[in-house]
C-alpha cells in the first residue's frame, strides 16, 4: 500500500523570506559590532578619560602655615590643632530631606552651635539660601566645615558613632594661634587671616599658582599679608577613588603638603610689651587729666608708639591704639564681631595709626627745619627773637609753645620749642625765594629739606597699606585748590555758612591757590596742612641719630624654612641720604641732647642717668582744628628711636613724656640712676645681630651669643 506522502510544500516564499531574515540579522549584528568598535577604539580614549574623571577625586590637604617669631625666636604667631566637623555633601544629598534636617539638628546639638548657623555653613556659595560669609567657597567635592574648635570629646563621639552621623566627618586641622608672649597684642604688625575671595582665587588660577585653593585662608593685614607667599606653604593633594555615591573606596596617591616658611622679625616681644603697656597707660592717664583749654578731660582717642633701631631702620616694637584681637578671625569672624569692629563707637581699630595714621607733626618738625635751615645759609650762631608772636601781614602768629625769651640760638629754640624763632626762619626763606605767592615753582629750601628727610612719601616699610603723609607745598596747594574750588565757592555764594567756615570758604574761593607768608610760617612749625605718620617721623629721627642715612623700615629679618635653613634674608635697605649737611646734623643732635636736661622734656626726665644714656628728644603739641591737640614725643639715642603719639591728649611731654621714659628705662636697664645692660629687656641693650637658632627637634633658641630672659 502506497502511503501518500504529502509533504506540505514548505514554500519558496518562506525559504526566500528566511534568507532575507538571515541577512537582516547579520546586518543588525554587524551594526552592533561596528558601533562597539567605534565606542571602544575610536572614542575609547575620550570615554576612558570620562571614566577616570568621575571615579577619582582630588582632595586638598591644607599645609601648616609658617610661624612668625621675634628676634629671640619667641613665637608671635603659631598654629594649633582645631577639631573641625565637616559635611560630605555628596553623601549628605543622598539622604532624604527629613533625614538631612535631623542630622543637622543632631550635629548642632553635639557641637553646641545654633542649628541656623550649622545649616548656613553647610551651603555652598551660590546655592539658594546661602549667604556670603557663611557659605562655603571651596570645592564642592571637599567636605564643608560646619563647626570648628570642637572639643576632642565631641569629635571622638562623632567618629565613633558614625551611624548616627552619616556624611559627617571630624578631623584635626591646624589654625592660627597667638601665644602673646609677655601679654603683647601687636595685632596691626602681625595681621590676620581670612578666606580667599573668588576674585583672588581666579587670579591665582590664571597665574597657575597652586599654593592657594578655594579653602585657603590668606593674610589680610600686617606681616601675614606682606609675607603671605612665604608663610602659606604648598597644599598637598590626596587622590581617592570614589564610587557612584561619592563614597571613598581607597587612596590612589598622595602628594604631601609642605608647611610654610617661618618669618623671623626684628620685633622683640619684651620691648613690644613695654611699649604697648606704656602707650596704653599714657592714654588712660590722659583721659583722667583735665584740659584747661577745652575745659574737659583729654579724649586721648588714639595713639601710636614706634621703637626703631637707629643704625638700620629695623622695627623693634610698634603699637597702635585702638587695637583688636586677631583671634577673632580664627575659624571665621562672625558678622556681629565685624559690625563691632566697623562701628563708629569702636573708632576704627583696624587702622594702624603707626603707619596709616596721618597727623600734624607739630614741634617735632622743628629739628628737621633747623637742620635744613643750617644747611641753607643760616649760621650756627644765628640769633633770632623768640617773641610772643610775629605779625605777618594782617595776622598775628602767636608763639604757642614757649614764653618770650628774646634773641636765642637754634639750640635753645629747639630745646624750649620756640615757635616765633621758626616763624622768622620760614619768613626769611619765603621772602628770599618765594615772594610771589602764585609762583608754583619757587625755590623752597624748607620744603625740599623736609622731603629730603623722607616726608611726604612712603617709607617703604614691609607692612601693607602705608600712608605717605603730606607735604603741603605750593604744588599741592594749587591742585587742592583746583579740586575744591567749586565746592567752597558755592558755599561762599550761598552765604548760609557761619563763623570760621564762612571766612574760610570766602578766602579759599578767592585765594586758595596762593602760597603766602602764613603758609610758610605754618610749615616751619609743622602745622598747616603738613601730615606725617609716626613711622615716618621715627625714620627721620633715626637719620638724625645715624648721621643722615634714611632707611626703609623693616619688621622682617629673614625667612627660614621649616627645617631651619635661611631661605631669604631681609637686609636693611637704604632709601637715601638726607639733604642736610653733616655739620648741621651734628649741631641739631647736640641741641636735642639738651631737651631732656633743660628743655621741654626736663620735667619728665628728672633723676634719669642722662650722662650714661644720652637721650635726645623733641616734644610736640600739634594743633588740630576742632579737636584737642595731638601729643608727640620723639626721642633717640645712638641705638634706638622711640616715638610716641597720642591724639587729643594735650602736650607731648605732659602726656607721653613719662611713658617714653619708661620705655628708655627698660631698653637700657635703668633703675634709679643705675644703668645695667644685663638688666635691659634685650640683654646687652643692642638688638641681636644674628638669627634665632632652629634646632632639629623643632624648638627655636635665641641667637648665638644672647641669653633670652
Amino acid at each position: 500500500m502506497a502511503a501518500v506522502l504529502i509533504r506540505p510544500h514548505l514554500g519558496q516564499r518562506s525559504r526566500w523570506r528566511l534568507f532575507v531574515l538571515q541577512v537582516l540579522m547579520l546586518s543588525l549584528f554587524l551594526t552592533l559590532l561596528t558601533r562597539l568598535w567605534y565606542i571602544q577604539i575610536l572614542s575609547g580614549e575620550a570615554y576612558q578619560a570620562q571614566a577616570a574623571d568621575q571615579s577619582v577625586r582630588e582632595l586638598v590637604v591644607q599645609p601648616a602655615r609658617g610661624l612668625i617669631v621675634d628676634d629671640m625666636g619667641r613665637p608671635l604667631v603659631a598654629n594649633r590643632t582645631s577639631w573641625v566637623v565637616s559635611l560630605d555633601r555628596t553623601l549628605f544629598h543622598k539622604l532624604g530631606e527629613a533625614e538631612r534636617d535631623q542630622l543637622l539638628h543632631r550635629v548642632a546639638r553635639a557641637v553646641k552651635e545654633p542649628y541656623r548657623k550649622v545649616r548656613a555653613r553647610s551651603l555652598i556659595c551660590g546655592e539658594p539660601g546661602s549667604t556670603q560669609g557663611t557659605c562655603w567657597n571651596g570645592s564642592p567635592y571637599q567636605p564643608v566645615p560646619i563647626a570648628e574648635d570642637v572639643s576632642q570629646k565631641v569629635a571622638v563621639t562623632i567618629l565613633e558613632q558614625s551611624e548616627d552621623f552619616p556624611a559627617v566627618l571630624a578631623e584635626a586641622q591646624s589654625v592660627r594661634a597667638y601665644p602673646a608672649p609677655f601679654g603683647i597684642n601687636a595685632a596691626h604688625v602681625l595681621g590676620y587671616l581670612s578666606p580667599i575671595t573668588e576674585g583672588e582665587l581666579k587670579a591665582a588660577q590664571k597665574d597657575d599658582d597652586r599654593s592657594v585653593n578655594g579653602a585657603s585662608d590668606v593674610g589680610r593685614a600686617g606681616l601675614e599679608k606682606h609675607y603671605d607667599a612665604w608663610l602659606r606653604g604648598m597644599p598637598g593633594y590626596k587622590r581617592v577613588t570614589v564610587d557612584s555615591m561619592g563614597r571613598v573606596l581607597g587612596d590612589d596617591s598622595e602628594v604631601a603638603a609642605s608647611p610654610g616658611d617661618t618669618l623671623v622679625t626684628s620685633i622683640d616681644a619684651r620691648v613690644q610689651s613695654v611699649a604697648e603697656k606704656s602707650l596704653h597707660q599714657a592714654m588712660t592717664t590722659a583721659r583722667k587729666t583735665y584740659d584747661p583749654v577745652t575745659h574737659r578731660n583729654y579724649v586721648a582717642d588714639s595713639g601710636a608708639v614706634v621703637v626703631m633701631d637707629a643704625h638700620n631702620g629695623r622695627v623693634v616694637a610698634m603699637s597702635s591704639q585702638p587695637t583688636y584681637d586677631p583671634k577673632q578671625w580664627v575659624g571665621g569672624i562672625s558678622s556681629k564681631q565685624l559690625k563691632r569692629l566697623y562701628s563708629a563707637k569702636a573708632d576704627n581699630p583696624l587702622l594702624f595709626r603707626a603707619t596709616q595714621g596721618q597727623f600734624a607733626p607739630g614741634s617735632t618738625w622743628k629739628p628737621l627745619m633747623a637742620a635744613t635751615a643750617l644747611s641753607n645759609g643760616f649760621a650756627e650762631n644765628t640769633l633770632l627773637d623768640c617773641s610772643s608772636g610775629v605779625q605777618v601781614g594782617n595776622r598775628w602768629f602767636k608763639n604757642y609753645e614757649s614764653a618770650s625769651y628774646g634773641p636765642i640760638t637754634f639750640a635753645e629754640a629747639l630745646q624750649i620749642s620756640c615757635d616765633s624763632f621758626f616763624y622768622r626762619v620760614g619768613l626769611k626763606f619765603w621772602s628770599q625765594f618765594g615772594r610771589d605767592p602764585r609762583n608754583v615753582n619757587a625755590r623752597d629750601p624748607l620744603v625740599s629739606g623736609a622731603k629730603g628727610f623722607g616726608m611726604g612719601s612712603q617709607t617703604g616699610i614691609d607692612i601693607p597699606g602705608e600712608s605717605s603723609g603730606r607735604i603741603a607745598d605750593r604744588h599741592w596747594k594749587l591742585s587742592y585748590w583746583r579740586a575744591m574750588k567749586d565746592y567752597y565757592c558755592k558755599v561762599d555764594e550761598k552765604g548760609s555758612a557761619t563763623g570760621f567756615l564762612r571766612v574760610f570758604a570766602h578766602e579759599f574761593c578767592l585765594e586758595g591757590n596762593l602760597y603766602r607768608q602764613g603758609d610758610a610760617v605754618n610749615f616751619s612749625i609743622g602745622q598747616g596742612d603738613t601730615l606725617v605718620t609716626p613711622v615716618q617721623l621715627a625714620r627721620a629721627y633715626a637719620a638724625l641719630s645715624n648721621g643722615g642715612t634714611l632707611y626703609e623700615p623693616r619688621v622682617a629679618k629673614a625667612v627660614v624654612s621649616p627645617t631651619g635653613e635661611v631661605v631669604k634674608k631681609v637686609p636693611p635697605k637704604v632709601q637715601g641720604r638726607v639733604k642736610a649737611k653733616k655739620a648741621a646734623l651734628r649741631y641739631v643732635d647736640n641741641a636735642l641732647k639738651g631737651t631732656p636736661r633743660v628743655g621741654t622734656l626736663a620735667w619728665k626726665f628728672i633723676d634719669f642717668p642722662l650722662d650714661k644714656v644720652r637721650i635726645r628728644g623733641k616734644t610736640g603739641s600739634a594743633e588740630v582744628y576742632g579737636k584737642q591737640s595731638t601729643s608727640w614725643v620723639a626721642t633717640y639715642t645712638k641705638d634706638y628711636v622711640v616715638v610716641m603719639m597720642v591724639t587729643q591728649a594735650g602736650t607731648g611731654s605732659g602726656t607721653s613724656g613719662p611713658y617714653v621714659r619708661k620705655i628708655w628705662e627698660s631698653l637700657y636697664g635703668v633703675k634709679g640712676m643705675d644703668v645695667k645692660p644685663k638688666r635691659a629687656v634685650i640683654p646687652g641693650t643692642t638688638p641681636p645681630a644674628g638669627l634665632p637658632v632652629f634646632a632639629s627637634d623643632g624648638s627655636i633658641l635665641p641667637p648665638k651669643g644672647t641669653v633670652s630672659r
Binding site: G11, S14, L36, Q40, G44, A51, L249
Partner: protein, 394 residues
C-alpha cells in the same frame, strides 16, 4: 526491500544541534561570569555576600536547563497540545500582573509569588511565537493550502494581539517593541502576502506617531525614550543610564580591564548592571575582543535557529524557529543597542545573559524547542498527516 533515500533529503542522524548547544553553553558561561562580576561589589544587592547573585543565577540556569530538557524531550504531539496551554497561562499571568502586580521602574510587570518574582511578559513572548506558529500550521495543514489568507493573518494577529495589548497596559514599551518586531517576522516567514506586511508596518508607524502627538505617551515618557540621542533630555534617568553605559563600555578599550576589574562596574556607576545593562560589564571588562565575541556567540545562536527553521520538517517548526530567531535577534539588538547608545533605553533583558529567572526560563525553553524541532527535521519522524517516506517503495 531496499531503503530508498528521498531524493532531496539525506537520511542523517539529526541528534542535537551541537553548534547551538556549544554556543548557548558559552553564552551561559560568559553570562554567569558577568553577573558575578557586576554583583560582587554591590552591597545594596548582596548585603555582603559576594556570591549571592552568582548562586541565584546558577540556580536559574539549573532550573532553566531542566525546562530545556523537558521541552526537548516532549513528543511533537504533546508540543502541539501543550502549546495552547502555555499561551493561556501567559495570558492569565499578564492579566494577573495588571491586577496584583508590583510596579518597578514605572511599569507593572512583576508578580511576586511567595518570595519568587515572575515576569509573565517573558513567557508571553514564547507563547506568542508558539501560538502563532501553531495556529498557522494547523490551518494550513488542515486545509491543505499553501497560501496564507486574510483570515489566517487576522487569527495570527489576534493571537499576538491579546498579550500585546496586556503588555502595553503595564506599560512595558521595550517588550512591546521586541514583540512587535517578532510578530512581524513571524508573519513574514509564515507567508503573509506583501501588501499585508506593508499595511501592518504603516499601521504600526501611524499608531506610534499618534500615540506621541495625541498625548497618549506623556512628554516625560517621550523624553525618556529619546534620551539615547540626547542625554540631556532625561539627565537623571535614561540620559544618565545611556551616558554611563557608554562610558563603561568605552573604558574597556580593546582588551578590557579584566574580569572583576572594571572600574565603573566595581564602583556602581551603571545602574541595573546585572540585568538590563549586563552588556556594559562585558564591554568594560572584556573589551572589544570579549564583547565582540559575545555578540558573535549570540549571532551563532540566531544563525543556528534560522538554520533549524530552514531545515525544519513542517511549517510549525519553520515558523516557530524563525519566530524564536526574531525574538532573540531583536531583543539582543535592542538590549545591546541600548547599551551602545543607538537604541532607546527600555527594560529589555539580554537573552541567556541577563540575570532574571523568567527571562532565563523562557529563553532556555525556546532553545529546547529549537532542539526539538531540529530533532524532528530531516524527515526522520512523522508529522501528523504524513506517512514515513521510508515506507515508500514496497
Amino acid at each position: 526491500m531496499t531503503l530508498v533515500p528521498p531524493n532531496r533529503a539525506r537520511l542523517r542522524t539529526p541528534g542535537l544541534d551541537w553548534s547551538l548547544m556549544i554556543a548557548v553553553g558559552l553564552v551561559l558561561l560568559v553570562g554567569t561570569l558577568l553577573v558575578w562580576s557586576s554583583t560582587s561589589t554591590n552591597d545594596s544587592l548582596t548585603h555582603g555576600h559576594d556570591t549571592a547573585y552568582l548562586r541565584r543565577h546558577l540556580v536559574n540556569i539549573a532550573i532553566g536547563s531542566v525546562l530545556f530538557v523537558m521541552v526537548l524531550a516532549t513528543d511533537h504531539r504533546w508540543v502541539r497540545i501543550l502549546a495552547p496551554l502555555v499561551y493561556v497561562a501567559s495570558v492569565i499571568g499578564l492579566l494577573l500582573v495588571l491586577v496584583m502586580g508590583s510596579t518597578i521602574n514605572g511599569s507593572r510587570s512583576w508578580l511576586v509569588l511567595g518570595g519568587m518574582s515572575v515576569q509573565p511578559a517573558e513567557f508571553a513572548k514564547l507563547a506568542v511565537v508558539i501560538g502563532m506558529a501553531l495556529v498557522m500550521a494547523e490551518r494550513l495543514e488542515s486545509s491543505r493550502r499553501r497560501r496564507v489568507n486574510t483570515v489566517d493573518v487576522l487569527l495570527m494577529l489576534a493571537i499576538a494581539g491579546l498579550p500585546a495589548v496586556l503588555i502595553l497596559m503595564q506599560p512595558d514599551l521595550g517588550t512591546m517593541l521586541v514583540l512587535g518586531a517578532t510578530v512581524f517576522g513571524v508573519l513574514a516567514i509564515a507567508g503573509t502576502p506583501r501588501r499585508w506586511l506593508l499595511a501592518l508596518f504603516a499601521a504600526g508607524v501611524a499608531a506610534s506617531t499618534a500615540a506621541v502627538t495625541m498625548g497618549v505617551l506623556k512628554a516625560y515618557q517621550v523624553d525618556r525614550f529619546m534620551a539615547f540621542t540626547n542625554p540631556a533630555l532625561d539627565p537623571r534617568g535614561a540620559g544618565y543610564n545611556t551616558t554611563q553605559a557608554r562610558i563603561a563600555i568605552g573604558n574597556g578599550g580593546l582588551f578590557g580591564q579584566g574580569l572583576f576589574h572594571g572600574s565603573q562596574t566595581r564602583s556602581g556607576f551603571v545602574p541595573e548592571q546585572h540585568t538590563d545593562f549586563i552588556f556594559t560589564v562585558a564591554g568594560e571588562e572584556l573589551g572589544l575582543v570579549g564583547a565582540g565575541l559575545l555578540i558573535a556567540l549570540l549571532g551563532v545562536v540566531i544563525w543556528r535557529a534560522l538554520a533549524i527553521a530552514l531545515g525544519s520538517a513542517d511549517m510549525f517548526g519553520r515558523v516557530a524557529g524563525a519566530g524564536i530567531a526574531c525574538w532573540f535577534g531583536f531583543e539582543a539588538f535592542q538590549n545591546i543597542g541600548m547599551c551602545l547608545g543607538i537604541m532607546p533605553v527600555t527594560g529589555v533583558p539580554l537573552p541567556l545573559v541577563s540575570y532574571g529567572g523568567s527571562s532565563m526560563f523562557a529563553s532556555l525553553m525556546a532553545v529546547g524547542l529549537l532542539q526539538n524541532i531540529h530533532l524532528r527535521s530531516g524527515g526522520s519522524l512523522p508529522t501528523r498527516s504524513v506517512a514515513p517516506r521510508v515506507l515508500v517503495g514496497r
